[in-house]
């Protein structure tokens, strides 16, 4: 029969002293004051150095005080929380900075003129001009690319997950992985060499034709691997119990995929598509290579050169006119806004079929 000695029973303490809730905030405030104050008095250094100094002072002070008051384990906990918190702030800072800069600089030309006019006839001294032709171009090119890649990508993913048992499925996965790494300019070169130089002269009296459709093809090459991969992942996430439940009702396999598996995986598939769209909308090199760029409005993606918002931004940013930078910033704001809008709409549409409500 063993008995617990008083010593063993006393080593586990349930309660410990804790710092009051306001303590981390008070330490942070003090650190900021000291950091920024110290920097202004000392020579050189600006708000950035001050912020870094404040952060360091905060860490050291918090950990020291916590070790004295609360004990080693709690201090380590606070240190980890502080580190994670600052990592988050560091990660979000660039995003906020980009958003702020784009909005503040893009607001200048955010007027009706910008959205209704093109650059047709606008010289370097002319303050007007807009991006209607570029917006149209982006919407048409990305739209056609989506129409091509979503059915193709979904079909490929469905084959790999639901039907593929042999080598073909493995080859598809391999090549899709390779395609994910293709640089956008290479995709543009491919479409230039294949579609513009070889195929399009057949329909154009022997002369190569630059068009919005060619740009859409190049964008498709870039979008397809993302869509196939993310659709594949989401389809695999659907539990096999759901498929079995449907088969057990006597529902054929293709109907099960269409009515049970895909609706269940839909929110994830939509996210994958929107990621691909966001990337494609921002690609400049392929559009420049095969759509050629344009100043006037061209609503026909199959004939005649087109531009896109990303190419427009590049054009305006490299033009010598003093009015061009403002246009470039507004175009950037427009591009971000369009992608954001599309994403929100897509998420709302897909929300009806969430896996958990």
């Amino acid at each position: 029969m063993t008995t617990l000695t008083a010593a063993t029973a006393a080593t586990v303490q349930l309660k410990a002293k804790r710092l009051p809730k306001y303590a981390p905030w008070a330490i942070a405030a003090a650190a900021v004051l000291i950091g920024l104050g110290g920097v202004t008095f000392a020579a050189g250094g600006g708000p950035v150095v001050g912020a870094i100094l404040a952060a360091l002072i905060y860490f050291v002070a918090l950990i020291t005080i916590a070790t004295f008051v609360e004990g080693g384990r709690s201090a380590r906990n606070r240190a980890a929380s502080a580190l994670i918190g600052s990592a988050f702030v560091l990660a979000v800072l660039p995003l906020l900075s980009v958003a702020f800069t784009t909005i503040s600089r893009g607001a200048d030309r955010f007027d009706a003129d910008f959205f209704y006019r093109s650059m047709n006839g606008i010289t370097a001294l002319n303050a007007g001009g807009g991006a209607y032709h570029a917006i149209l171009g982006t919407l048409e090119q990305v739209g056609i690319a989506v129409l091509i890649t979503v059915p193709l990508g979904l079909a490929g993913a469905i084959y790999v997950v639901e039907y593929g048992r042999g080598r073909l499925a493995k080859w598809i996965q391999f090549f899709v992985d390779v395609m994910t790494g293709i640089p956008s300019i290479v995709a543009g070169l491919f479409v230039l060499a294949f579609w513009v130089m070889v195929i399009s002269p057949i329909f154009n009296d022997g002369r190569p034709a630059y068009s919005g459709f060619a740009a859409a093809l190049a964008l498709s090459v870039l979008m397809l691997p993302t869509i196939v991969r993310s659709a594949e992942e989401m389809l695999r996430l659907v539990p096999s119990a759901l498929r079995e439940g449907s088969y057990a009702l006597g529902v054929p396999k293709w109907r099960t995929i269409l009515k049970v598996v895909i609706p269940t995986a839909l929110p994830g598939i939509v996210t994958g598509v929107m990621l691909a769209v966001a990337r494609a909308a921002g690609e400049t090199a392929p559009v420049m290579l095969v759509a050629g760029g344009a100043f006037a409005i061209n609503g026909n993606p199959f004939a005649g050169q087109q531009t896109s918002l990303s190419l427009y931004i590049y054009d305006q940013a490299s033009t010598a006119s003093q009015y061009a930078p403002a246009r470039a910033w507004t175009a950037a704001l427009t591009l971000v806004a369009i992608v954001l809008l599309l994403t929100i709409v897509a998420k709302l549409v897909a929300r009806r079929s969430k896996l958990t409500r």
Partner: protein, 258 residues
């Protein structure tokens, strides 16, 4: 009207692994048959081969014949989906379709094979839900998601879904093992009512449940691990649990092993 099932020398494989061998059994219509036995002896494998769900698993196959009212369902020209519409299944873990409402879940078997008329669907849904003893609990929230019910209700929803297509046979693979005693009782009562219209085969780990619910019981077992499972004894439930013929059956039901 329910159908009669005859299994003749059924052997099932997972790839090259033989899971069950030489099973011969006749299941009469409108009866409840329980399949019992230790884990891994092939009861679920045999159950799944009755409605041709075994072959859904890659590289799995079944040899031998299983006849339903005289027709061999493993014949070359047989349409698998027609077999499964005739022989329904309820699984161990409830699996309602998460993107569909309760109503859509119940009529899924009908909708997904082309029945469109709203009137027909509504009648079928109410009938099935009443049959599964779930109508009173969900009649006011038929458009709510199917996944928002408790475990016992979800399982009854799956049973309603299975009987909505009016099968001849209902197979149940340990339907109560994921449920609490009250829900289990509800489902056992349900089985008692369903047996008036369907042939039921139920796999269960719970011997008391087999004794309560079934007319005949089949005991499966294996000699040693790695061996294929075999049907050891198949008789009236009363006899199996009071005076079995085989020693192995007696050892199992008295708890000496398994």
């Amino acid at each position: 009207m329910a159908k009669r099932i005859e299994a003749d020398n059924v052997t099932a494989y997972y790839g090259s692994f033989k899971a069950i061998e030489g099973v011969n059994m006749v299941i009469e219509r409108k009866s409840v048959t329980a399949l019992i036995g230790p884990s891994g002896c092939g009861k679920s494998t045999f159950l799944r081969s009755i409605n041709r769900m075994h072959e859904v698993i890659p590289n799995a196959r079944v040899e031998g014949t299983i006849s339903v009212d005289g027709e061999n369902i493993y014949d070359k020209d047989v349409d698998v989906t027609a077999v499964r519409r005739m022989i329904g299944m309820v699984f161990q873990r409830p699996n309602p379709f998460p993107t569909m409402s309760i109503f859509d879940n119940v009529v899924a078997g009908l909708k997904l094979v082309g029945v469109r008329k709203k009137g027909e669907l509504q009648v079928a849904a109410e009938q099935a839900l009443r049959g599964a003893n779930l109508w009173e609990e969900v009649k006011d929230r038929l458009d709510k998601p199917g996944a928002g019910l408790s475990g016992g209700q979800q399982q009854r929803l799956c049973i309603a879904r299975a009987i909505a297509i009016e099968p001849q046979v209902v197979l149940m693979d340990e339907p109560c093992s994921a449920l609490d005693p009250i829900s289990t009782l509800a489902i056992e009562d349900l089985i008692g009512e369903l047996k008036d219209s369907y042939t039921i085969v139920i796999v269960t780990h719970n011997m008391q449940q087999a004794a309560r619910v079934s007319d005949r019981t089949a005991f499966f077992s294996l000699e040693k691990t790695g061996d294929p499972g075999r049907l050891v004894e198949y008789d009236d439930t009363q006899k199996i649990f009071t005076n079995p013929n085989e020693k192995r059956t007696e050892d199992y039901i008295t708890g000496r092993f398994g």
